[in-house]
Each structure stands twice: as structure tokens, then as C-alpha cells.
């Protein structure tokens, strides 16, 4: 409950943050809302030598519609996202932990932390979103599909800072997010995010992603393929959802072994798709 020793540095610009990361070496970490990193530090499961506090960097908290996409500042807290019009992400953000965490935790922090049991990574993946990262060599955009590389590992370089999240506006889609957890504040045992577009009674686009079914968030490609082009019926959804666990590798834990997680993925997938197909 008491962290190892670390240096603390507060920065006021992205450039300063990147410079501080470079100076701080591999053990430097950015601190935003602190609701993923600090608990690990208190348990001494993480011991960064330097914390670079970016919470005061101006201009990084906000949600903006930019044509066919949403641009979400990395420091946007979950509560603000939950109250926004950003399809899927708003309902996902509303389920994160408890009000205190939603008021402090940020989308950038959640994605950069790369925890497969967190809610937002799978949701951004489902939407084919991307992140904008700043590093010593300037800015680059990383697709969500290339961002989550392993358990709590991402494509961010040690001296890069995640500054923005971009997701398509998904106009005309319906959304569903089904999270299974034991208590309201818990991480997901399994969760399924879905976005479906229906035209003339048929599912013309289907996006499904899974939380906590592998070391990274996953797209449920088999479900998407099975439902795409199918009529938007309960039967078609049920059949497609049966394939939710294909290609997954869920780690067993205290609450669920792998079999049960696979079962949950199928159940939740069906429920998420039903929600996505329900009239708004």
C-alpha cells in the first residue's frame, strides 16, 4: 500500500512530456488520472522511477465531432465520455468501475495501460478507431488493430505519448455493450461490444469485440462474418453469437475458467447484438 520511491515531474505541454519521457528512460511513466497505474504502484507490482504528470497539459481533454469522426482528447475522463454522443463509447464508459474512477480515469490512460480486462480498449477496437501518438519524431497515427500488442503492452514507444483517440462517427449504427462482472465496480470477467448497421432488414455491417478473452482485446471475426449480410433476426443473431469464442484464448482466473469464459462470451455476444439491433 506504499509505493516504491519515485521522482515526480509535472509538465504543461506535450513536447515537455515527450522530452521528460526521453530523459526519464525506460522506467518513466506518464500519469494522467492515475486510476490504473497508482493501484499497481501501491501494490508494488509497478515501480516506475519517474512519474510525469500530464494532467495539467492544456487542450487534451475534450470531445469534438470532426466530419465523419470523433476526436477525443487523451485526458477526457470516462464520465465525460459517458455523457457524450460518441456511439458505443458512451455506453461503455458509463459501465467503468464507480463514479470516482469515472471522474478521474481517462480514455488515453485506459488505452495506453493496455489491460485486456478494461472496457475501452475492446470498444475502440470494435469501432476500428485509432490513436494519435506524439514522440520525438513528431506525430503518428496507430490503428487500434495494431495498437494492443500483448498483456498490458501496446505499440507505443517508451518515449511516445498518446494524445488523442479517433473513432468513426458510426451514424446509423446500433450499439450494445454487455459486461459480465460480479460487482458493479469490478473489471469485466468477459465483456462484448457490438456495433451493427441494418439496412432493409439486413445486417450490412457488424463489429464485435471482446474484453478479457485473451491477452489483448480481440475482434470476434467469426461472429462478424456469420452475421454480415444476414437478416436482423433473433435467430441469425443467436447463430452468429455461438461463434463468439472462436480464436480466443481466455486466461483462467478466480472468477472464471476458460470454458466458462467462452460460454459467457457467447451469451454476452448474443445480448450485445440484440441490444445493438433494438430500436434506439
Amino acid at each position: 500500500m506504499i509505493t516504491a520511491e519515485f521522482d515526480y515531474q509535472r509538465v504543461s505541454s506535450v513536447a515537455d512530456a515527450v522530452a521528460a519521457l526521453q530523459a526519464g528512460g525506460e522506467d518513466a511513466k506518464l500519469l494522467a488520472g492515475g486510476h490504473s497505474l497508482v493501484p499497481l504502484m501501491k501494490l508494488r507490482l509497478a515501480a516506475p522511477s519517474r512519474l510525469i504528470d500530464i494532467s495539467g497539459v492544456p487542450g487534451l481533454a475534450g470531445i469534438e465531432r470532426d466530419g465523419a469522426q470523433w476526436r477525443i482528447g487523451a485526458l477526457t475522463p470516462h464520465a465525460r465520455l459517458a455523457a457524450s454522443d460518441v456511439g458505443l463509447l458512451n455506453r461503455v464508459a458509463a459501465t467503468i468501475a464507480d463514479p470516482q474512477v469515472r471522474n478521474r480515469g481517462t480514455i488515453g490512460g485506459s488505452l495506453a495501460h493496455g489491460d485486456p480486462a478494461s472496457d475501452l480498449p475492446a470498444a475502440v477496437l470494435a469501432l476500428d478507431g485509432s490513436v494519435v501518438a506524439h514522440g520525438p519524431d513528431g506525430e503518428r497515427t496507430i490503428a487500434a488493430s495494431a495498437f494492443f500488442s500483448d498483456y498490458m503492452e501496446t505499440a507505443l514507444a517508451p518515449d511516445e505519448m498518446l494524445c488523442e483517440v479517433r473513432v468513426p462517427a458510426m451514424d446509423g449504427y446500433g450499439f450494445g455493450y454487455e459486461k459480465f462482472h460480479r460487482r458493479a465496480e469490478d473489471w469485466a470477467v468477459v465483456a462484448v461490444a457490438a456495433a451493427v448497421k441494418v439496412l432493409d432488414g439486413a445486417c450490412v455491417d457488424v463489429r464485435v469485440a471482446l474484453t478479457n478473452m485473451a491477452s489483448t482485446p480481440l475482434r470476434a471475426g467469426a461472429v462478424e462474418a456469420a452475421l454480415r449480410g444476414q437478416p436482423a433476426t433473433a435467430e441469425a443473431v443467436a447463430a452468429a453469437a455461438q461463434r463468439a469464442a472462436e480464436g480466443t484464448d481466455p486466461p483462467a482466473d478466480l472468477d472464471a475458467d476458460a470454458d466458462y469464459k467462452c460460454h459467457l462470451a457467447r451469451v454476452l455476444c448474443e445480448r450485445a447484438l440484440v441490444a445493438a439491433l433494438a430500436p434506439a
Binding site: E5, F180, L254, A256, Y260
Partner: protein, 783 residues
Amino acid sequence: MSATAEPHVGRPLRRKEDPRLITGRARYVDDISLPGTLWAAFVRSPEAHASIVSIDTSAATARPGIHAVLTGEDMADLAGPLPMAWAPPGVEVNNPPHWPLARGSVKHVGDPVAVVLGEDRYAVVDAAEDVIVAYEPLPVAIDPEQAIAGAPYVHPELGTNQVHSWTLAGGDLEAGFAAADVTIQRRVINHRIAGAPIEPRGVLADYRAGALTLHTSTQVPHFVRLFVALLLGLSEEKVRVIAPEVGGGFGAKLQVYGEEIVACWASRALGRPVKWIETRSENMSVTHQGRDQIATVRMGATRDGQITAYHVKILADLGAYNMLLTPLIPSLGAFVMGGCYKIGAVTTEITGVFTNKCPTDAIRGAGRPEATHMIEVMMDQMARELGIDRLDLRRRNFIPKEDFPAAVATGVIYDSGDYVASLDKLLEHVDVDAFRAEQAQLREQGIYRGIGFSTYTEICGLAPSRITGPAGVGVGAGLWESAMVRVHNTGAVTVYTGTSPHGQGLETAFAQIVADRLGVDPSVVEVIHGDTGTGPEGRGTYGSRSLANGGEAVAKATDKVVAKAAKIVAAELEAAPEDIEVSGGKFSVKGSPEKGMTLAEVAGIAYIGAVPEGMEPGLEETTFNDPENFVFPFGAHACIVDVDTATGKVNVVRYVAVDDCGNPVNPLLIAGQVHGGIAYGIGQALYEHVVYDDDGQLVTGSFVNYALPTAAELPNFELDHTITPSPSNSMGVKGVGEAGTIAATPAVTNAVIDALAPLGVDYINMPLTPMRVWRTIQEAQAR
């Protein structure tokens, strides 16, 4: 002065404690700072069982600001190991030494090996990581059923893992089963849980000028003083133990902990105050845990529903050591093993077993929740077996009202009860026929809703010393309780209680009792507790004892004050003392209320010294109350759940509790206690479980994995009550601190079984986690 003649007792007065708690002005151990304090951090075993090969403290000692690193060897002058206070007559209890710092070997993860003392709270934690301990791992005993069967042994020198074997038998069991038409047997598991108080433990020890002051977050400051004095070789009057604000105990602070002894020893050795505040991780791994019983339960009944015999064999996983009351705890359930039923033959056989886990001891009901869970789940199982409605079966076996006081087969005398009344009251709130119709309708929609009941009694108000003492049950202490009532010059009142409340609201309840008797307002009655340096000897707060035992002491001491005041008033008013009454805030002659004296006026005379001839001045009295009998609260609870059969998740949709704790002193406090208790019972039934893996590593080391329920997981509780006064004390009160947690687990379990009955599920053991419920459904469907 009281403006109204209406008594304060019985009214839902708001808690006197709350303003300071709500505004953050309460003072917990961690809020107390002394100049020159050294902080302590413990080096704890990562191994479940190992020999300590070597301890290298040099790197830690060399760190700046570190004053000492102590090991078990350094504390070789302790007078003895940590105490175990149960010596049942005629029963052998294996009790290997349990040292505050391990000597030679460690027996469970978290066992303390060394302590680092230094000037900075953070630096000592860093330094503790620099203490290099070489361990030689030893084979572990984790599963209690394997452990009782043989090696590996937790304490190899014993050549067994058995702690003890204890039996309580009443009635002819063999004849009882012979008379039964139907006998059923179930394996009933009461899994291991944690007390999980929101304030972890903490100690601040200050030895100076030959005297020791220990602030500690405890339920039992007087027991702690006694054992600190004994172990450190100090004369008892030189030790003062203060339990300041204590943020919950739930039995986990009914203990004499090694950290308390180490802090005191170190303060004396180093000449500095020593402070240690437990982390949540430590609380989950080394603060004693509870339950962990595997029981083989057999019940016999006639076809027409008469329970004839009840036989419970318990294997109790006691963990690595005996702590203060460890092996006694399962026995507490044995006295009420037959619940609220008239059963001619009841036998409980308990075997305690050592394992390489944190020790168990008193937690949240301590033995009685286990017993209640068993009998109430078995009543449902038997009803199903006999094809009799489960409430009818209960009614056919209830001890009838006219039997009270009722001697039961287990040898105790239930003081009072009216089980039919509490069940009837419950059914005023729960329309079972309407529920069955709703249930059938919902099942057609795929919603599995179930209802479960629990009609319980428990034993509390610990304890009549002649029953629980050395010649009786074998507890090495009388469990009487004390009170001192001091009226000040101005008529303000201070009450010193030997109980040690830590959230129950006794400052309010005791003030109500005193205020009525003295004709003053509760706001001028201050209740002081948890300080061995102020009042008389005391015994602390646990076992729902504080009101029935400690409150009775307060009432008796107050009555003594009233008797003296009456003599003073009688002399002033030229009346007979027996004609003086307290009415409308005044001591007056019966029938002449206009001529009276306030308590302030009486106190004025008492302290000026103008008292009647032969009377001492002053106005204060002390009582030691040793109750004649226990008290036996009872009630009837109903729980309605929905089970998501696709995921196995159980949701409590309604919970109705009818409790009878005798005459209510403060209904608001009672509701608070019942709410907390039910939350704990639902928590055990559905969420909470201390889990160790096969290597003895603790899996549930934080609130992430140890699923303490929050408000979001719990329904609104619907409460009602019946009132059946206890004859065991003058106020007719019973305890209520543990009632909810004792009643709730079978109500939840029976509800889940009821919900899943159409799927072929007829039995399930706690904890009813989603995965277990789902698996149980799968297995039932496969049959």
C-alpha cells in the same frame, strides 16, 4: 433536562457518534501522532511453509533513518508465545507456540519474520524489501481433509495436524435415528471469509518512564493489556491500552496480535514510540479469518415431519496456529445446533485441523452462522424429501412459546422465544401464494426467481461466567461486564463501560438508558469506552454482548446512583427514600411532582458534602454484571432472488427480515445492525471467499479479488420485528449485532435452490458464485 416525560429508551435517537464520524473529526490510531515516533514495517513470509535458513538484515539496517531490524531471536526475552485462552475440561488441545516474530520456521503466507523500525513511514517499507531471508520450503498442508488424514504436517513435532476433538451431545442419537422414517445427509460447507473491517488494524506503542501506553484498533483493550503485561513482564497497572475510534471489527479485532506485542517490545527496547498501520494487503493475509468448516450433516425425521435426530460432524480448518479463541469458535455454534426446533437428540462433533493458512478465529457470528446455515438448509432439504411444505415443517418442529424458558438437547436454556409469531409477522410482508403465481409466470418468460426462508435463533450476550468459565466451556476468563456511572457537580453524567464499541452506536444506546433513569437528557450523558486507564476492568465488545451484558451493567450502576440520590432527595424533602421517583426530569415524592429536585441539585448536595448522616459524599457507582443466562434472539428472514441461468449470476431482488431482540432500546441502531449483518450474510452467500491455491498462496489478497459486496449489489432491506422480552436481564433486551449475518446465508441459499428447482438443482454449497451456479445447472441438466 428532559422536557418530556416520554422515555428515551425505545426511541430512534440519532447516533451521538455520527457528527464526529461524518465530519471526519473522529480520531483513529492513524490520526494520533507522538513526537519521535518510529514506524514499523514487517517482513513477511512469501512461503506457506518453510524453514528460515538465515536472515540478513545488514542492507536494511544500513539504510538512512533505520534504527533497528528485529527478528524473533532478538525478542527471546518474551515471557511466552501469543495467548490461546481456551482450555476445555477433559479435552486435549494441541497448541504449538505462536511467536510474534517467527522462530525457525514460517507456517503461512504473511507470517512475520522481522520488523524494520525507522523514522519514515515510507522508508521502512523500502528497507523491509532489503531484509534478505533465505527459506527452505517445506511441504504444505492446504486441503483440510487431506491435512487431517496425515503428513505433511504444519507442526511436524506434533506428528499430526489435528488440533483437537470436541463433542457436545444431548439426547439419544441412536434412538432418534431409529425412530426416523427418513434420514438425509448432506455435505455442508461454510467457506472461509474475512472480517474485512474498513479500518485495518493499527498500533501506536509508547513506553516511557517505566509505563506503557498502547493505542490499538481493538475490540478488547483489557485483554490486550493483560497479555501485553504478561508477555513483556510488566506489572499490569503500568500498561494502559486505548482503543480510540475503531473503524469496524467484525471479530477480527477480538484478538491479541503479534504486531501489538512487537510494537510494545520495540518501544521499550528503543525508547521511542513505535507505530504500525496495517495495509489492506496485510489485513487480507494476516488478520485472522473465519468459518472454513466442512460438515457432514445428518437429519432424521418421521414421515409426518417430526425431526427426531440431528448429527453434525465438523472438520474445522483452523489455519496455522491457535490464536486467542481459535479452536473454541466452532463450538459456539454447537449450543444452538438444533436451531429453533424441538429435537430430542442433537450431537455435534468437531475436529480442528491445522493447515498452512492464516489462522481462523471469531468472525461475524463466530460458529453460530455456520450452525444456522446447516440447520436451515437441512430443514429445506428434509421438507423436500418428505414432500412437506418447508414452512409447515418448521412450524411442526418449532419449540412452542409455552416451553420457554426452554431446555434444549444441547444443554442450554433458551431464555425466551415466539417463533410462530416472527414467522407469521414475516408472512404479513411476504405473500407466498402470490409469489408462487408470480414465480410460475416469470418462469414462462425464462426468468428463474426463487424464495428462501430462514427461521433462526442464536446465542449471545456473552456470557454467564459460570457456564463459559474454566469449569464450564473452558474459556479462561469470566465474561461479565462492568460499568461506572459518575454524576458530576452540575448533573452532567459520564458513563464508563467495559465494552469497547466500534461502530455499534452504544454511546447513544447507553446514554438513553442512563438518561431515563436519572431524569436527564441523553445529550448530557457521555459514554467513555475503550480505555483501560479510565474505567473499571472490562471485557470488550463481541458476541452481541454489549447491550444485554454491558448495557445491563450500565442500568444497574445507574440504579445504584438513583438509590443514593433518592436518599439525598428524601432527606431534603422529608420523605422516605422508597417514595422518591424520577419523573419529568425531577426526583420527587410520588404524587407530589411539583416539589422535586433535578439531578443537578442532587449532585450539588452530594458534592458539597451536605449529605445525610452516615452517607459518603459524591455520586458515582460501579457494577460488575455477570448474567444469569445467555440471551437468544430469533427471527424469520425471507430472501427472493433472480438467477440468470445463462450466466449463473444471482441477484437478490428482495430481502425481508423480522428480528426479535427483546425490548428495543433504539430502533435506529437495531436497523443499522441488521442492515450490516444481512449485507455480510449475503456477502458470504454470494460474493466473499478467501481462496488459497494448492501451494498455499493467497489468491484473494485485495478487495479486487475478495468480493466484498457494495451498496450496488444489495437490495433495500425491509425490516420488521416482534418483541419478546428476555428474562435474562432487567431490561428484557437481547443482542442484535450478529443476527443478520447469522440468518441470511441459508435464506439466500434456499432461495437459489428454489429458483433452480425446475432445472433439477436440489442442492448447492456456498459461495454461490456465478461460475458455481452455472456449473451446478449444467450438471443437473446432464443428469
